[in-house]
Each structure stands twice: as C-alpha cells, then as structure tokens.
C-alpha cells in the first residue's frame, strides 16, 4: 500500500493546509527579503500550497541554495487587517505567497 511505512524527508511535506490560520513573522533581518514589511505580523489564512517545494529565494539571492527545499503558501489577508482604516469593502483582500520559514500558526 502506497504511503505505508514511508518516511518523508524534512521539508518534503507542506506543514500548512488550505484553510489554516497563519501569521507572518515579524522578523527584521538584513538582506534581500521578499516578505514585504507591510505584511509582517499580519494574520491570514492559507489559500493554496504552491507545488513543487522550492529553494528559499532569499538565500538563493546570496548564492546559497541551502540544500533542502520548503513550500511557499499563497495566503489571503483581509485588507482591513493590514490597514485598520481601510475604507473599501470588508471582504477585500491581499493575496501573496510566503515561504514556510516566515509563517507560524495563528
């Protein structure tokens, strides 16, 4: 039976699923970071797991592929969560893919 007893490598399986509530980490490292500052610390939900897993392009930007791959997750964040004084419709949202190392369960 496929899957029975199969051990997967670290990072091989996505750790979040569509619908999971997540928070973008509030780190401020120095370097080429693709997680926009305006989204750090904001809460949203996973819309989609981007397959296949990919190298961390922030590391790749420095010529370091860092070996193992992880997933990107396309997440949805309400615009009212990002901008408290947002005046558009309440359901308007921001959609963006974020690398696994930048997300935690919310």
């Amino acid at each position: 039976m496929v899957g029975h007893g199969i051990v997967t490598a670290f990072g091989e399986k996505p750790i979040f699923r569509p619908g999971d509530r997540v928070r973008v980490l509030e780190r401020q490292p120095i370097g080429h970071y693709r997680v926009p500052t305006y989204l750090r610390g904001k809460r949203g939900a996973v819309e989609q797991v981007i397959e296949p897993a990919a190298v961390d392009n922030e590391e790749e930007g420095f010529g370091r592929n860092a070996g193992s791959k992880l997933h990107y997750y396309r997440i949805a964040i309400p615009l009212t969560e990002i901008w408290p004084d947002y005046t558009g419709a309440a359901r308007d949202g921001l959609y963006i893919e974020v690398f696994e190392t930048w997300l935690e369960k919310a």
Partner: protein, 225 residues
C-alpha cells in the same frame, strides 16, 4: 574636437529623403550609476563564465518575442473552450505550454479568474514581477512606485483612476507577486460576444485587462466589471 554633425557626414550616413539636421541617434549623455553597474556586473559574469554574451543577446530576443497578444489568445481560448479554461485555472503554466508558449525559467503561473463576485488585480510591490513569458515586458506605470504602493493600500481608488469602478458587493483581490509565482487575470467575457470568433474575442483582450486594471469590453459597447 569635431562636431557630431561633422562625424555624422564622415560616417557616410545616408539620410534618404530627409535633409534636416538632427541629434545623434542614440544616447549622448554619460552613462549613469546603474548603467555602469550593469556593465560591470555583466562583464564580470561573462569573464567568470557564468554565461556568454550570446546567451544575453538571445535572452533579450526571447523576451522581445513575448507580448500581450499571446496572453490575449490564451484568454480567448479559455472563453470558448471550457476544458482549456479549467486547465488554465488549475495550472496556468501547463496550459500556456500546451498552447505553445514556452516558459524559459522555473516560474509558475497562476491565472485568477474575474467573476461577477470577484475582481482580481496584479501588482508587484517589490519591483516588477510580471508574467513576462505570456505578456512580455510590463508597462512603465506597473513598475512605478505610486502604482506599487497604492495598489495594495487603496486598490479601489487606483482602479477608479483607470476608469474602473468596482461595485461594493464585488470583492477586490490584490495579488502581490513578489516571490515565486507570477499572476495573470482571466477577464470576464463581455456580454454580447456570443457570436464572436476566437480571433475576434482575442482582439478585445488588452494588456491592461490581464493585469486587472480594466475589464475586457466591446468597443463602444457595454462594459462588464
């Protein structure tokens, strides 16, 4: 030092049917900081054999061969072929490849469908990420800071400035394509185009409809969000 005009004549340049004097064709001002930086990095990369000059030249040809007409043909096919539309929404890249549009790198494409309930808008707040294999180079305003900043802060006002009023009961989804994936909008097929051929439909699909700043519409006809 000789004047440019004098050099011009000596070079035996054929003016054809015009005889008026004009400035030297091409840039005359000194290269700027980023021009010098680009040249230095390019020459270093060639010297270190990461790639050759011919590969750079070829890649420019590759990019120049892409333009919004390709995306328009993809959209028109999706409008007339439900199976293709489903494949396009499931995997944008694979559907475009099936259509003969090659992707020259590892970038995936996600196609977002505009509906009566949802309007999609594409931006790259970081710089200029854009579905180049399908649409070619992005317009200048797409790369300019005002669009990049305001599209995620006040998308409805930005859309209104493009002449696109989104009703309050329609959800606006802004896609910030800063990381791995590129995005393209599948606009709504305009009402009244039931009898249009695929080619006629493709003619209604402009670059801006696939970025999501305007709807596709029949000229002088009704518009849909």
């Amino acid at each position: 030092m000789e004047s440019p005009d004098h050099e011009h004549e000596q070079a035996g340049h054929d003016h054809g049917d015009h005889t008026h004097p004009h400035d030297e064709v091409g840039r005359q001002d000194k290269p700027g900081y980023y021009d010098v930086l680009e040249t230095a990095v390019r020459e270093l990369l060639i010297e270190k054999k990461y790639f050759g000059a011919d590969e750079i030249r070829r890649q420019i040809e590759v990019l120049d061969s892409r333009n919004p007409a390709l995306g328009a043909r993809v959209v028109a096919r999706a409008w007339v072929d439900a199976g293709f539309r489903a494949r396009l929404l499931a995997n944008g890249r694979a559907a475009c490849e099936e259509f003969g549009i090659s992707f020259y790198d590892d970038t995936q494409l996600i196609v977002m469908e505009n509906t009566q309930a949802v309007h999609n808008l594409i931006v790259c707040t970081l710089c200029s990420c854009y579905p180049r294999p399908v649409l070619g180079l992005p317009p200048d305003w797409y790369k300019a800071k005002p669009y990049r900043a305001r599209a995620v802060i006040e998308p409805r006002k930005v859309l209104a400035e493009f002449g696109t009023i989104i009703p309050d009961d329609v959800e606006v989804r802004v896609h910030d394509s800063t990381a791995m994936v590129r995005y393209m909008v599948l606009p709504r097929r305009p009402d009244g185009t039931e009898a249009y051929s695929e080619e006629e439909l493709a003619a209604l699909v402009t670059r801006d409809t696939m970025i999501g700043v305007v709807p596709a519409r029949i000229e002088n006809g009704s518009t849909v969000q």
